[in-house]
Subunit: 510 residues, 2 copies
């Protein structure tokens, strides 16, 4: 008799009939069950595997539905002949696993960025968020800092502290005074970028099915981290004052939230600042519902205005706010250094996660950063880029205001490096995106920041990567594309009316 090597796992995540179905699918895919081969009778298979007969029947039914087997009354169930495979063909040799059937079920897997195809138009204007101007980076300072860092190579080479290098934690704690956060080196955990900080928090707190409140529109990277632990995301709206705390309050009353994710300093992607009233409401809600706040302070070092609102964590003596930051914006994302400030028991748990997942952030990159901070190069670079970004933002906003048609609008951001644009109503947004792409204008489309497929009418434009004059040129080209699309729509409306009219006339003629 055929040995299925099927061990039902009653405690498994999947019901037994799905487990059996997966196993049979794997055997069919591997050619162990060849085309035309008869499957065991349901009663027989139930007996040999120890599952109920119903379980076998359900598994067979699913396979029949999928076209992998076919049932013939009075004869039994047979493996289907592959489309195009002649009857009696030799089964393929074992070709390994059906990997998909082995994957853990945890949320929607993220779309991967695709390498640019040869046919892809060259990027002429790079408005993509999360990138920095490589030409503006302090290259020589980096080389000098690296040379200094390698003086301690013997220590660095073997450094393995999941909390991060102490020297860097000291510098981060010092820098956080500027965000109103009073903490010491022991309160800081260095991470491989803010993304890892979000992932470690997810790892520490979330279990499959836990609910997490997120901003919508909001940062997709946070969604990836939470969904990676099987969490359910609860989108909360955003307006000109930031997160809608009234909506959050309703959501918290409706169900328990394990975490509230928020970008108070510079809302991602809209660029608005969380208002003082909303800040107070948010902290009160976290306390009332015992739901920790995850504050992503990602762009705060680059606020364009003179004065910076303190971080939410600054108003949180009870340690209910988990504060995350990054050097991806102040320096560059390829450095992969971020940090998290959290209450002691959580910080310990985060370090345990860092140890298990990758032993912590690269000590080499950490040491390089220490040298850049101590030598003053980072401070000089940030001050220079803050001025540069203010000019760039102004140039982009001015050019867009000139070039965009009526009905388009955008928010001038409080900080960060992006501007959130809304296309005119009822325009062919997909057409605009396609034409922009073909013209070599690259940007993040609004849908990326929504969980439900909405947002096509939005565009996030980063002004980080080009000097002002180039930004203005790109804005004018984009503006022309939007104007064209709007004109076509205006032109299309009467045309549609004509078509309708013609039809009606035709109808009258019949």
């Amino acid at each position: 008799m055929l040995d299925l090597v099927f061990r039902p796992d009653p405690r498994g995540r999947e019901p037994l009939h799905r487990q059996l179905e997966s196993r049979l699918r794997a055997l069919i895919a591997a050619g162990r069950l060849g085309p035309g081969q008869k499957l065991p009778a349901t009663r027989e298979l139930a007996l040999t595997t120890g599952v109920g007969r119903n379980t076998v029947t359900q598994a067979y039914a699913s396979l029949t539905e999928a076209g992998l087997v076919s049932a013939h009354v009075g004869q039994g169930t047979f493996v289907a002949r592959r489309p195009g495979a002649p009857a009696g063909a030799v089964p393929a040799p074992a070709r390994g696993f059906v990997w998909e059937s082995l994957f853990a079920a945890a949320g929607r897997p993220p779309r991967l960025p695709r390498p640019a195809a040869a046919s892809e138009p060259r990027v002429r204007f790079d408005f993509r968020a999360g990138r920095v101007d490589g030409a503006a980076l302090p290259r020589d300072a980096l080389r000098r800092a690296f040379a200094r860092a390698t003086r301690e190579l013997g220590t660095l080479a073997n450094a393995m502290d999941p909390f991060g290098l102490r020297a860097l934690r000291e510098e981060i704690a010092r820098a956080l005074v500027g965000r109103g956060v009073e903490c010491g080196a022991d309160d800081v955990l260095v991470t491989a970028g803010a993304q890892q900080a979000l992932d470690l928090v997810a790892r520490a707190l979330l279990e499959p099915g836990d609910a997490v409140a997120v901003e919508q529109p909001g940062y997709f990277g946070a969604a990836l981290a939470f969904e990676g632990r099987g969490a359910t995301l609860v989108p909360i709206g955003v307006d000109g004052e930031g997160l809608r705390t009234d909506e959050l309050a309703r959501a918290l009353r409706a169900r328990r939230m394990k975490l509230v994710y928020v970008t108070p300093a510079v809302q991602c992607p809209t660029g608005v600042v969380l208002s003082p009233g909303r800040r107070a409401a948010l902290l009160a809600l976290a306390d009332e519902h015992q739901a920790p706040i995850l504050e992503d302070d990602y762009d705060a070092q680059l606020r364009l205005g003179a004065r910076s609102t303190p971080a939410l964590a600054a108003s949180d003596p009870a340690g209910q706010v988990i504060h995350v930051g990054t050097f991806s914006k102040a320096l560059f994302p390829g450095l992969r250094i971020g940090y998290v400030v959290a209450a002691p028991p959580l910080r310990e748990r985060l370090a345990q996660g860092a140890l298990a997942s990758c032993f912590g952030a690269s000590p080499l990159a950490q040491s390089l950063l220490v040298e850049l901070v101590r030598g003053g190069a980072l401070g000089r670079h940030v001050r220079r880029m803050r001025r540069a970004y203010a000019e760039r933002e102004a140039a982009l906003a001015e050019a867009l205001a000139d070039a965009l048609p009526e009905g388009a609008s955008f928010v001038r951001p409080a900080g960060g490096t992006c501007l959130w644009l809304t296309l005119p109503p009822a325009i062919d947004a997909a057409g605009v995106h396609e034409r922009a792409r073909a013209a070599g204008i690259a940007y993040a489309r609004g849908e990326s920041f929504f969980l439900d497929g909405r947002g096509a009418e939005h565009v996030l434009l980063s002004f980080a990567c080009h000097p002002p004059a180039e930004l203005a040129r790109g804005a004018r080209e984009l503006g022309a594309i939007v104007c064209d699309a709007r004109a076509e729509r205006s032109a299309a409306l009467p045309a549609a009316c004509r078509t309708t009219g013609t039809r009606a006339a035709g109808g009258g003629m019949s």
Copy 2:
């Protein structure tokens, strides 16, 4: 009435009474339920929260057991007065969360390495595994490579490919020919060290309760990664031929395994090579039970002998082996660069995990490595260190053979940088470890490599960090400690006999 803000989650991981208990604990810890305050009657609380009365009774019983509340017949249940707190004391203001009650339940959290206390003896002989000799690293080549890497800073700064830099993947694919693995750049995914590769595999395949077969003794880092996803570890024994495939076969027949983790080239920690017969048996078992093999090839670049057995993945045309490697040994762990070669659907899934967890390995470190490979510095360093390690291993083995007492034994490793030592039987192993620590002799204790607390009679000695003469001195000091412990035991035996004799005489006198 008191509003508990308790939303029972029937689909939650914890039973409802535990959910309620956690909520009450949090309220008590936060001072919302003050000392002496009366809790609602069970019937009342059941009605207002919608859970069964039994659930409330269970929650109250657990809190009573924990001393947080006390029940008084006929009066009700009251929050306990804190030890030492006078009756009627003002409750403390809200002080944040009971974080521990919010943590995800996923395996045993790893022990964190503690920073060396001031009272800790200085490490004079560093035999700790996983470290390299910082003084032997090609410092100037590193600086030159970094300078060359920064020429492409504009690209590197924004590089964000979860598969890793293409140039590095090409070099890795080329280098894998030496391990018998035929693959191209597209088959490779670069990770932040081998640990991240293990974690990404765990993330892709494992769900809470899934079983994973691991070597025992075995690598604790792998255990951390698997347990981090809630997997159950099934230890499989190791002997002079490596993993006991007969034990594995029995385990696979007993229950379904989601993964078999193995270190075939240089078993961690024993240093033995998986024999040809076992290799064949392992591959056949993986195929028969459709259980993927995770091959950790961590130390293979540093095999001491002239010829190197090909990787297990070399004998795997069906792609059932997931092949993981690292540059932590060939260069240094602080670089945090490893890689994984896996079948296409799994590789895609691993990249999705990398994206969600940290956006992938540091492009800066990757680029540095590309320059080191292309410029030939890495090859030169590996050849030099292979010779150096062979000398160091010989020096350590020779000194240990001289210095250790009878009954002690060790395995001369096939590769890697460690030597697995077994102390004489019935010796006070804990005493040896304590004396070695006090003398500044640092090493990994055997228990770290066992899941069940066994292994105290073993010591893993790395010969990577010192030149031969120093290793020999350290070995002699350690040998003397072991000799003393053994002599004490021998001395203790007659003494014990005397004591027994005396007692017997005393007994006779009474």
